[in-house]
């Protein structure tokens, strides 16, 4: 029963994976095509390519490396074949993989004798890794070992009143049991500062989060946007939203009532359990990249009107309280909470249903977004590259 915990793969670093991915990771765009061909040659492997670049500067190097490292170490990854361009990158990657705590190998593109040879070498390495993890078995572990990423998109009145509050009720349940939840998209917290102040575990955490929020607001002002001046919008007011705090709470409701225990940088791994804030851009593929590369094993995503975003490594569970969306996008949504609107179901009942869905998906049942293989890895940039 889902009361005792969830089923997953115990990793060397103590974390638990809800999947056992055989990952083919292209670490630079130059090797994306090679990675595709290697992954195609071994059914069941998971290809991960992104727009990883050379010539990045400053913080962008840190972020890109953190994203790559986060994927290599991710608990949902059972084994990884990292594909790099040259021998120097190969040496660095060997060093990284030595501490990854899982079967792994490096494929150095420039060491090959032509593309066909590179594909053949990659295929051989990948088959050996597949054999190494073929016998991996799941165990039941306590809920304290679960970290979920919290996301919302395609927001409307139903996500504010049903989907996000249901997710928030589950987050309360999970954090009460020592689990972790990560919320992000800093721009959505503009207007929610009083909530951050009252719910931060310490003044230091509050100050860090508020600093991140005010930096985003400064960026908007520099762009000529007066967010507070135009919100709530005329459309919001007509729909019944009275204040900016109320509007922000539509999204913040997915965090429940737990205290914020940490303020994380993009893709930073939490060092303690509980509800964490991660500073990310608001675009969902980017924010989900940050939270998953920081270690979230699953994504809980509240939608009103539909939003397709998922993640290649972490199953995304879509929660929806809009009956029209549930009908149109039935093949892409996992939990219908519109019963709160129509049939006198309540938030607690739906939160229990969400817990059961989480247990099933954690234990191996595919979420819709996962079955559509939805999701991108996008590392945000802040300065011009060389």
């Amino acid at each position: 029963m889902s009361e005792n915990g969830f089923s997953g793969f115990c990793r060397a670093d103590g974390r638990v994976g809800v999947r056992n991915h055989l990952l083919v990771l292209s670490t630079v765009a130059l090797t994306n095509r090679l990675a595709e061909m290697v992954a195609e040659s071994v059914p069941g492997s998971l290809l991960l390519t992104a727009e990883f670049m050379r010539g990045l500067r400053g913080r962008d190097v840190l972020i890109q490396n953190r994203v790559i490292d986060g994927m290599i170490r991710h608990p949902n990854v059972g084994a990884v074949l990292a594909i790099v361009h040259d021998a120097a990158a190969g040496e660095r990657m060997r060093e990284t993989l030595a501490h990854a705590g899982k079967p792994s190998d490096v494929l150095v593109f420039m060491n090959a004798h032509g593309m066909a040879d590179a594909v053949a070498e990659g295929r051989g390495a990948l088959m050996r890794l597949a054999a190494a993890i073929a016998g991996a078995a799941r165990e039941t572990v306590p809920w304290s070992r679960l970290a979920v990423a919290l996301e919302c998109g395609g927001s409307d009145a139903t996500s504010a009143l049903f989907a996000n509050p249901v997710i928030g009720r589950f987050v309360d349940w999970l954090t009460d049991r020592g689990g972790t939840a990560i919320v992000s998209e800093t721009a959505e917290f503009i207007g929610a500062e009083p909530v951050v102040r009252s719910r931060a575990a310490t003044p230091a955490v509050a100050a860090q989060i508020l600093d991140r929020i005010s930096r985003i607001e400064e960026m908007m002002k520099a762009d000529g946007e007066d967010y507070r001046g135009v919100n709530p919008t005329a459309e919001n007011l007509a729909a019944g939203l009275t204040t900016l705090v109320e509007k922000s709470m539509g999204a913040v409701a997915k965090t429940g009532k737990a205290q914020f225990v940490a303020c994380l940088d993009f893709a930073e791994t939490p060092q303690q359990a509980g509800l964490c804030f991660m500073d990310t851009p608001f675009f969902s593929p980017v924010s989900i990249t940050g939270m998953v590369c920081g270690g979230a094993q699953l994504v809980l995503f509240g939608v009103g009107v539909f939003n397709p975003s998922g993640n290649p490594l972490a199953p995304t569970i879509k929660v929806c309280g809009n009956p029209a969306t549930m009908q149109t996008w039935a093949d892409s949504l996992d939990l219908d909470v519109s019963g709160i609107l129509s049939a006198d179901r309540n938030i607690d009942e739906m939160a229990t249903a969400l817990r059961e869905t989480v247990a099933r998906v954690a234990g191996g049942a595919q979420s819709c977004a996962e079955s559509w293989r939805e999701g991108q890895i996008i590392a945000p940039k802040s300065v011009a590259a060389l």
């Binding site: 009145a157 009143l161 049903f162 509050p165 009083p194 909530v195 009252s198 007011l237 729909a239 019944g240 009275t242 204040t243 705090v245 109320e246 709470m249 913040v252 409701a253 009532k257 709160i340 609107l341 006198d344 938030i347």
Partner: protein, 79 residues
């Protein structure tokens, strides 16, 4: 009788979930003023001027004048 949602026990407002704004009772029997649109809020207690309006368990604004239970809570009396 009108459908509504009371998001947390601490809330002193509920959000109306239908557009049957001619009706004057919520589905739990309490009185509500007519004319409150779908998605808008009604007070479920008397709220003195200056007191917090609580929704989602947090303060979303304050009463700019005294609000009677059942009244529409929006820009005219909440900021």
């Amino acid at each position: 009788m009108r459908k509504f949602i009371h998001l947390t026990e601490q809330d002193n407002v509920v959000t109306l979930l239908d557009d049957l704004s001619g009706l004057e009772r919520l589905s739990d029997g309490t009185a509500v003023r007519p004319g409150i649109p779908f998605g808008h809020k009604a007070a479920v207690a008397n709220i003195p001027a200056g007191s917090p309006i609580v929704k989602y368990g947090v303060v979303i604004g304050h009463a700019t004048r005294v609000i009677a239970a059942g009244e529409h809570v929006h820009v005219g009396n909440c900021a």
